[in-house]
């Protein structure tokens, strides 16, 4: 579920659990109707209201933070005012109440992302570092934890406030020469032991909470065990080389298990899903937190971690692609072999556990469909004119009693089984995200997508229960192989870049073909800004993909009658497995458009397109 649950749902010390609803200061309630339909507020009124509510944020209260985050979400059109108020508030309050405001900043950035993360990034670095200097050790470690979550905090699992901001903050914390986060491969600089320990603590914390949430999660248990040994090892002293290796593996582990912020269930939702809003047990710090304790403690954590780990096993985020799967396990086993670690906890490959989980759920599903089949077959109906008009099958029973939970938004029903509940959870999640997207995108302009091409359509056989298609198990047909080739070429095109001339970083440059702005990116290793997916031709900079496609198309029209085969066509540029691609056969330029939509989508959702499709049913 949310990062907050995973990350902060740890036992609080020195606090007490209340079961009544949170005593939210001025009784802010989640609006159940879309805000734009409600009433209009002028900027001055909004500024006054928001500041007033913000001033209540003097304690570490999840409901207050959530309420404010919700407010920011509803009034995204006043995002700049929100940013100004928040910055002013953090600067104004005494050091010991700054942390909750950072949690608010964090929640808004991760959950709403655009435009907030962008706006906050203009002041987050100095504000964070100033605060860091002012607070005590305990708060500092909380802030470090926060910064570590920012590494993968964007909806696409990238740096929440961008690479430069992340790099600068981390360097300030761990020193100039430290290895900053941006890649999962630490660069060649000196690596501070403190940094490795911080990151280890962070990862260890994640794993411990995973175990807490799901005591039978053997993989996480094992990770906890090994991480504890690693900690002792580092504390005892290891070489730079080993530190580097450990750090690299830690990051792989962290990234393979990114906090899936964007898959927030309707916590900050204005989706009317009343069943999702039970009164939460609420933990308030006993007194004014001189030493801010763990925030939002005892927020009921569910089998969330479970979901996260199993989905990360089956749908690894793109950032892991560069690291061999099982890298962590490999490192550990090599450590065990070399006698550095004891082998009391033999590392289990994450894959093995995932496989068992899958098998388990397959069995459950098979059982359920057997039950359904025998139920249906108990009522034989002759497939004939007389049979179907005479027969009185128990249709109502089939429709309602087997599927007892109904989505209150669209009417689709789900069974009460474990799988059914999971599917329904995903379904509600999907509504939440789409509502969010709808609110964010108002007036942006949507359009009908081009239809898929034959290859994509023939292979678009998503499993409707959300397992995803068994990729790789099916032999590639000739066409699919050609498509894979083309996809590889496409990836190569996308990997091309042009270095941004110094001083031009802020200059928007658009592709002459699709007219869209080229996206710049900071290359950590080379320490320079580049335009990705770009080629330079006659002093103009194009999208590499656009240009290749344009060349192909002109060539194609020339060759149409002369009879030579084309090397690259749009038809084969997308892997058949990329199901959500709206238009594999899209036209010049449209392709990019389509992918932008795709990436906006996954930015908002934090899930790969295939998963989205799978849960869309």
């Amino acid at each position: 579920m949310s990062l907050y649950q995973n990350y902060y749902a740890q036992p609080s010390y020195g606090s007490q659990t209340y079961t009544q609803p949170p005593p939210v200061a001025n009784g802010y309630h989640h609006p159940l109707t879309p805000p734009q339909a409600a009433y209009s507020v002028d900027p001055a009124t909004f500024r006054r209201d928001f500041s007033a509510r913000l001033s209540q944020l003097t304690v570490n209260s999840r409901p207050i933070i959530q309420g404010l985050s919700m407010y920011a979400h509803d009034y995204v059109r006043f995002a700049e005012i929100v940013a100004q108020c928040l910055e002013a508030h953090i600067r104004a309050v005494p050091p010991w109440v700054k942390l909750p405001s950072f949690y608010l900043l964090d929640m808004i950035s991760k959950n709403i992302f655009e435009p907030y993360a962008r706006l906050f990034s203009t002041f987050v670095i100095p504000l964070f570092l100033e605060t860091y200097q002012q607070v005590d050790e305990a708060t500092r470690s909380k802030m470090v934890e926060l910064v570590l979550t920012w590494r993968t905090g964007s909806p696409t699992g990238k740096e929440l406030f961008g690479v430069p901001a992340q790099v600068q903050i981390e360097r300030s914390i761990w020193g100039e020469t430290s290895s900053s986060s941006a890649s999962s491969h630490p660069s060649s600089g000196f690596i501070a032991k403190a940094q490795v320990l911080s990151e280890l603590e962070f990862t260890l914390g994640q794993k411990e909470r995973a175990v807490q949430a799901n005591p039978s999660d053997a993989t996480s248990q094992n990770h906890v065990h090994v991480l504890q040994q690693l900690r002792r090892l580092i504390e005892a002293g290891v070489s730079q080389d080993e530190l580097k290796q450990i750090l690299s593996q830690l990051r792989t582990l962290m990234r393979s298990n990114p906090p899936s912020t964007a898959s927030q269930p309707p916590q900050v939702s204005n989706t009317p899903v009343p069943s999702q809003w039970p009164s939460q047990p609420y933990t308030a710090p006993q007194s004014y937190p001189q030493t801010p304790s763990y925030p939002y403690a005892a927020y009921p954590s569910s089998k969330t971690e479970n979901t996260v780990s199993s989905s990360s096993a089956s749908v690894p985020p793109p950032s892991v692609a560069t690291v061999p799967a099982g890298g962590f396990a490999d490192l550990l086993s090599s450590l065990v072999k070399s006698g550095v670690l004891s082998n009391t906890g033999t590392p289990l490959g994450a894959g093995a556990t995932a496989k068992e989980d899958t098998l388990h759920s397959i069995n459950e599903e098979q059982e359920a469909s057997r039950t359904y089949r025998s139920f249906v077959l108990r009522h034989p109906i002759q497939l004939s004119t007389a049979g179907i008009t005479r027969g009185r099958p128990p249709i109502a029973e089939t429709l309602y009693d087997h599927l007892t939970s109904q989505c209150k938004q669209c009417g689709i029903r789900f069974s009460d089984s474990v799988t059914g509940k999971k599917v329904m959870e995903e379904h509600l999640d999907m509504h939440f995200k789409q509502n969010m997207k709808a609110n964010l995108n108002v007036g942006r302009g949507h359009s009908r997508s081009w239809y898929t091409g034959i290859d994509d359509w023939v292979h678009d056989t998503v499993d409707r229960k959300g397992k995803g298609r068994a990729d790789g198990s099916r032999p590639l047909s000739g066409k699919a192989a050609a498509a894979a080739d083309a996809a590889k070429r496409d990836a190569e095109l996308r990997a091309q870049f042009v270095v941004v001339p110094p001083g031009d970083e802020a200059k928007p440059i658009s592709c002459p073909i699709c007219k869209e702005t080229l996206k710049s990116e900071f290359l950590e290793d080379d320490e320079e800004w580049v335009w990705r997916n770009a080629v330079k031709k006659d002093e103009r900079i194009y999208h590499a993909t656009c240009r290749a496609e344009a060349l192909t198309n002109t060539l194609a029209s020339r060759l149409l009658n002369t009879g030579r085969s084309r090397s690259v066509t749009p038809e084969t540029q997308v892997l058949p497995s990329k199901k959500a691609s709206p238009s594999p056969e899209s036209l010049v330029g449209v392709k990019r458009k389509a992918e932008d939509i795709d990436s906006t989508l996954s930015q908002l959702e934090g899930t790969p397109p295939s998963k989205k499709l799978a849960i869309a049913s």
Binding site: T33, Y372, L383, T385, I388, T389, P393, A396, L399, Y400, Q406, K408, Q409, C410, G411, I412, R413, S415, G420, Q434, N435, K437, A438, N441, V442, R444, G445, H446, S447, R448, S449, Y451, T452, G453, I454, W457, V458, H459, D460, T461, V462, D463, R464, R474, N553, T554, A556, S557, S565, R566, E571, E585, S586, L587, V588, V590, K593, I597, A616, S617
Partner: protein, 456 residues
């Protein structure tokens, strides 16, 4: 036939297994709320307490298995139970061909079957095939198409009777983000070029077979085929034509059940022809089906093409708050097509068959006056009478990438990736204005014209 727009809501109690039929007048909308109990519209379940809006001259019915109370602003036509039932193949998944005369409710039967299959909770996504070019399925009229349906299809408008092809709008229903596979036939009358119909049906069947071969679960869910009414009856002279097309469907989609909706003569005919090798079942014609006239059909075509480019948001009746469009939140569902000027030479446009061609200049040099039904004839936009102005064009998938796989009639087998309309022709400057569903250049594309036009 309705009270005015400002009609106050009225409540009705529906007995178990009864239904409530209603129509929406042109230019108006209505909202129906399930107050209590359980109810559905053509198999798609309603949520209690939400006003469902209906528009674009929608004709639909609220059905309840167990009884319910509904609130509406509509006049009741009449209510009577409609027998329903999903055919249950013994071991084979159902592959059902639905035949029936005009106004017999074939499409509704298809929709109910599909909706009940997806509501089984078994993860089924049956393949819904539309070979009725006057209907158009998820494309525009003139197309033949197929799509796997994984969530219930809502009914709220005539503009998208079978759900909607994917858009970038934030829709939530699976049936509003369909990925159809389409061919362009180009006419609404199946007799116009039945050779082409036959070929496209077989192509569609072949690709569905390819897909289901990859997907055992998809295969299990079955195939439902909606057909044009011309398959069911017609003047004696057309008997051979329709029998050939029915046969094409049975072969192409490996049909194992034929459902004949309310047509005894056709039932007998099908029993005689196919009764020995597959199941033929007659189901009664729904009592509530209303006769539709030609002008109504034309308006519906208009709604459908408009919906393809612009989407549809039904304005709820005054006073109705937070309504839903078939389960979809009424948010930003409008679409923004793009209008661009292109050079004549940017797009290669063909017409299949010569029946409709007028100027002899359109003929290939040296060709006889009569061109075969299947011959692609290039259309020259600079010739007066090209028929391009306001024409709906189908943009085709690219030709085969491998030259060795290319062949003469390949253009007939290319699927459609989308539709555009020629909104202006500037012969002097050799340019035309094209309304396209989304942005992007059409340079180098191949398009087909048919006999269908559209004007905003």
């Amino acid at each position: 036939m309705f009270e005015s727009e400002t009609a106050t809501p009225r409540q009705w109690v529906l007995e178990l297994e009864s239904e409530y039929r209603f129509e929406v007048e042109a230019g108006s909308s209505c909202a129906i709320t399930l107050v209590k109990g359980r109810a559905e519209v053509f198999g798609a379940e309603l949520v209690e307490g939400k006003p469902y809006v209906f528009g674009s001259e929608c004709k639909a019915a609220i059905f309840t298995w167990l009884g319910c109370t509904i609130e509406m602003t509509l006049r009741k036509l009449h209510g009577s139970p409609v027998p329903e039932g999903e055919p249950e193949g013994s071991t084979e998944p159902p592959r059902v061909l639905i035949l029936g005369p005009e106004n017999s409710g074939k499409t509704t039967v298809c929709k109910i079957l599909v909706n009940y299959a997806v509501r089984s909770g078994q993860g089924w996504a049956p393949m819904l095939v539309n070979v009725d070019p006057s209907e158009g399925g998820w494309a525009v009229p003139g197309a033949l198409s197929a799509a796997a349906i994984s969530g219930p299809i809502a009914t709220c408008s005539t503009a998208n009777p079978l759900g909607s092809a994917a858009t970038s709008a934030p829709t939530t229903l699976a049936s509003n983000a369909l990925l159809p596979f389409a061919y362009w036939y180009g006419h609404d009358d199946t007799k116009k070029n039945s050779l082409l119909m036959d070929r496209l049906i077989r192509n569609l069947g072949m690709h569905i077979d390819d897909r289901l071969g990859n997907d055992p679960e998809g295969r299990t869910a079955g195939v439902i085929v909606d057909t044009p009414s011309s398959f069911a009856s017609g003047p004696g002279a057309t008997t051979e034509h329709r029998q050939k097309l029915i046969k094409a469907c049975i072969d192409a989609f490996q049909i194992n059940v034929i459902l004949v909706v309310g047509h005894e003569k056709l039932n007998v005919e099908m029993q005689r022809a196919y009764g020995s090798r597959l199941t033929v079942v007659k189901i009664p014609k729904s009592g509530g089906v209303v006769e539709l006239d030609r002008s109504y059909r034309e308006r519906v075509h208009n709604y459908q093409v408009h919906n393809y480019f612009y989407g549809e948001v039904i304005a709820p009746p005054p006073g109705v708050k937070s309504a839903t469009q078939g389960g979809e939140t009424l948010t930003d569902l409008n679409l923004a097509p793009s209008s661009t000027a292109v050079n004549f030479s940017d797009l290669k446009i063909y017409r299949i068959g010569a029946e409709t061609m007028a100027p002899s200049s359109a003929l290939p040099i040296g060709a006889a006056r009569v061109v075969s039904e299947m011959q692609p004839v290039a259309v020259d936009p600079s010739q007066p009478g090209s028929g391009l102005l306001n024409a709906i064009l189908a943009i085709l998938a690219p030709f085969h990438t491998d030259e060795r796989e290319r062949y003469d009639e390949e253009i007939l087998d290319l699927n459609v990736i989308g539709f555009v309309v020629v909104t202006n022709l500037d012969i002097a400057h050799k340019k035309m204005t094209i309304l396209s569903p989304t942005q992007g250049s059409l340079v180098g594309r191949t398009a087909l014209i048919g006999s269908l036009e559209w004007q905003e």
